[in-house]
Subunit: 276 residues, 2 copies
């Protein structure tokens, strides 16, 4: 396992963690904190435009561990699925434009009014298959991110590393996995599926599972504040040869989004060194 | 698949669905609604005492699909685990005393302060193994209930049918599975694991997954109000030969627990006939 105790290079800040900040603010804030990698969401990239975003990031000499996020493939009709594909192509272009190491995909849930989970699974597979040639041509690896099963209905119906591995088996070159500790820590099959994933893991995200968790989406914890054995999990990931960044991605209306973003970055860095 | 459209015999009301009621009120309310099976929690059985509870249930001619619930095996020390075992033995006695078809077990989560999920899994296995001889002697089948992964930290670290099946493989005769649609509907491996479970499924519970879900524990929906394809799922369960009751178990501080329990029962019966 890599020694993070005096490391800041491997820490990447996901823009959702400091949601109030623009891309410029994120870059300046990370510079102040001695952090040199980011994982932006599309909103802050689009707000300045892809070209300018790329220039700002290159000028800062920053790494971009991933762009968050594409996906959301299932839709009630063919027009909806085509629209999703077009939007995903734009996301690939954005990822290429800012030099992101990959584009994170979340599956999407059940189309409105549908209870057919099997059909949603097929639409996700077909959507990724349709996007892959475009992403390969652009040189942008795709990374399917299994989300916690509590998001299956409305956000992502790919909820386990096993399912993500099956998709990679089926769809081949150009599709990898975004592994987020928060979403998969509970899985009794996790160690085996991480080993199976091997080099497919192209980005690794951390936050923590709080007890109690007060909201299904917006109550994620700072690493160290919850029950996930993050060092153990990172050990499993790094045993596959993973050599990329560790992204801190925290959705937290109830706590972290209320705080001064500079304070949040400083705590992220401290926890990166001590508990991640 | 069994035809429920004019059926009330296969419907069992879990006492948590009408939480305000005592055992006597539950029995009288079910009689008024034309329902003849219940799945009580231990609190309402203990409130009148097991002996009287058994007499009331037998006098009514009611079936008891299961007793909810034992389990909660992991603890920080050996004394805690011994206390859990003793409490589970009392639960077995209560199940026998009221003629329940099985005792539902939920696993329990991480002991306070622990992040060692693997150790918790072992304590669950060891706890069930220690309880099994007592349950076999009493003639009470145990039924491990996989709970939704969002409960892994604090309620139950057995979260998939695959894990439950593995426990049954390992622990043998006397251990079955309580299958609750709410907890497992999202699992891409569900159909295969239900088929693998076969006769192990000793009790089947329904409610529905609401979108949005506003609370991790207390926002379950009435069957038909959410996104679970309940008829499809019941088809998978009944294809194993399952011939038992279908229990409606709804935790709902935000809606159903605020309503008149007689109204709740009448809607349960209507949904049982139309959407379950």
């Amino acid at each position: 396992m890599r020694d993070l105790s005096s490391d800041s290079k491997l820490l990447a800040i996901n823009s959702a963690t400091v949601k109030a900040w623009s891309l410029e603010q994120l870059i300046e804030g990370c510079k102040r904190a001695g952090i040199s990698a980011i994982a932006p969401w599309r909103d802050i990239v689009q707000a300045v435009g892809v070209e300018k975003a790329g220039k700002l990031i290159r000028a800062a000499g920053f790494d971009v561990s991933c762009l968050c996020r594409g996906g959301m493939f299932p839709a009630s009709d063919a027009a909806g699925r085509r629209a999703a594909l077009e939007d995903n192509k734009r996301a690939v272009d954005e990822a290429a434009g800012i030099g992101a190491n990959c584009l994170v995909l979340i599956a999407g849930g059940l189309p409105k009014g549908s209870k057919d989970l099997g059909a949603a699974h097929e639409q996700v597979r077909d959507g990724i298959a349709a996007l892959l040639p475009y992403a390969r041509d652009a040189g942008v690896p795709l990374a399917i991110e299994p989300l916690h099963p509590m998001t299956a209905a409305d956000r992502a119906c790919v909820n386990t590393m096993g399912h993500a591995n099956n998709l990679c088996d089926e769809l081949g070159e150009g599709l990898g996995i975004a592994l987020d500790a928060y979403h998969v820590w509970w899985d009794p099959d996790l160690a085996a599926q991480i080993e199976r994933a091997g080099k497919r893991i192209v980005t690794y995200h951390v936050c923590d599972w709080l007890v109690p968790t007060r909201d299904l989406v917006f109550d994620r914890g700072m690493p160290g504040d919850g029950v996930i054995d993050l060092k153990h999990l990172r050990g499993l990931v790094e045993a596959t040869g993973y050599s990329g960044h560790i992204d801190v991605e925290i959705f937290s209306t109830l706590d972290w989004w209320k705080r001064d973003p500079d304070e949040v970055l400083s705590i992220c860095l401290e926890r990166h060194r001590s508990v991640v």
